[in-house]
Symmetry: C2
Amino acid sequence: MRIQDYFKKTGRTMTDNNVKQALIPEGGIVLRNDRGTAPGCIIEGNNKIFIILPGPPIELNYMFEHQVKPYLHRISKDIIFSRVLRIFGIGESTVEDILKDLIQDQNNPTIAPYAGYGEVTIRLTAKCHKEENPLDFIEPVEKEIRKRLQNAIYGIDDDTLESVVGNLLIEKGFSVSLAESCTGGMIASKLTNVPGISQSFIEGAVVYSNDAKIRRLGVSPCTLDRYGAVSAETAKEMAEGIRLASGTDISLSVTGIAGPGGGTSTKPVGLVYIGVAMKGKDTVVHKLQLAGSRERIRSMSCLHGLNYLRLALLNVE
Amino acid sequence: MRIQDYFKKTGRTMTDNNVKQALIPEGGIVLRNDRGTAPGCIIEGNNKIFIILPGPPIELNYMFEHQVKPYLHRISKDIIFSRVLRIFGIGESTVEDILKDLIQDQNNPTIAPYAGYGEVTIRLTAKCHKEENPLDFIEPVEKEIRKRLQNAIYGIDDDTLESVVGNLLIEKGFSVSLAESCTGGMIASKLTNVPGISQSFIEGAVVYSNDAKIRRLGVSPCTLDRYGAVSAETAKEMAEGIRLASGTDISLSVTGIAGPGGGTSTKPVGLVYIGVAMKGKDTVVHKLQLAGSRERIRSMSCLHGLNYLRLALLNVE
């Protein structure tokens, strides 16, 4: 019935296949699918529990979060609670070295460092009775880790660099604009995924060609001629140009060589300049030499850009 | 030794942990890691083969592609070959219905439809001797599927909507510009990930505020006032505005309500307008009503936008 309604609502035809999706095993507890039509159910018996979930990730995740998790919590005595600390700008081995003694003595919580994409995470996992508060176990260890890693920790759990930067902008009432060359809109795309960001995010310019850099951002043709599109000078003018044009408090620019082509001996693939312009402050340009595929250079530029924005925002009142 | 060189080259310090990474089991075949320092090796013996690979995805993928795959090919007699057909704009159940008889009679190749993120894929898998050509099995079935699904198939294997659109633009010598509101630069970001796109991609504008729509794209304040920022009229002016400003052959605009806030009864969350402007043709505006989270509405808008660009480009000589 619910599935019939779903098809009616979305104006699509119900096929034989969709009818098949409505069938579940005898004695099973039906899990409602609020995100599609694939079936899910729980079958209890013989000291074993089978949980059958849909394949499509959207349907699976939603059903797990909203129905399986509460179910598991209800039937369990102990709880396992994890907090993830997210780190940008230091490698996994270095993090492990800094935390060596803590990792060797770990017990409850356990401490698990992990090298993710362009970041390192540390998962702290506490196990305790349902009545205890797992944070009582986690917080003293977290405090010690924070003392050692400081600003390199940008967030916890589901935080992303963009959600942290976005929320800093919103909290501080700072408006922001972006001028992206090699990242091609990736930073704008990430930042605008933060709910509520429309009050801070004014404008992004994806300026691939020299012509667009001149026309849209007012970068001087002389600068482009003399230093090239990938240079500290151009990054500076890009950041200042978009900030002035859009009238924002802060702006970020990125220009670099993402490859696979376009590199030279003096300006190899992976060379990236990132500019941060802020009202009342001198514009700062950071130089990076990144490695890997085009995609990796672009996404690492994006993460570094967001991180420089974060660090700049942490330094303002 | 190679790992020592790597640290020298990247100017980082080698920790105890990195020294440990250089150790491998006796008799193991070392897999070179050209993307990092984590170890990998193959151990053969007792009719079993153990392949140990690094954890970091970048290092794992590269090592698998460049060393494990050729190794497996060398030691195998039969081959299993898959081709994936990628479909946009039709749901999985509908695809299964259209191909019902083919799926029921499948043998070699097998036919496996799968609902991916915003798309449906069909994996055709042929099994044959090393000396046979697996395409002889796959191509007749693929031809029949293409006859039925036509333009809904946008590519194969690792193709993405952006790589297909990017290559169409490059092949046809078409220049392109983008004006994005709710997608916030996501389309620019995807399109600029295509190598060689710099010859076609001129400029993208991420115009979140009304002010930026007026200032950057020349959208009329009257239009915004009368129809709102999310309207067919605004989408049309955005597409035409960016095309004129950047002087491109074709342009794409997206404006919509990504949510979670901002929806009304007449303009609910998920309402999206996509405009395609092309020289010598009337501008076309498509209206979509999408569902799901902010992230899903944004990324589906992005995929639909790329698909409308693709369909428009397929229709030009």
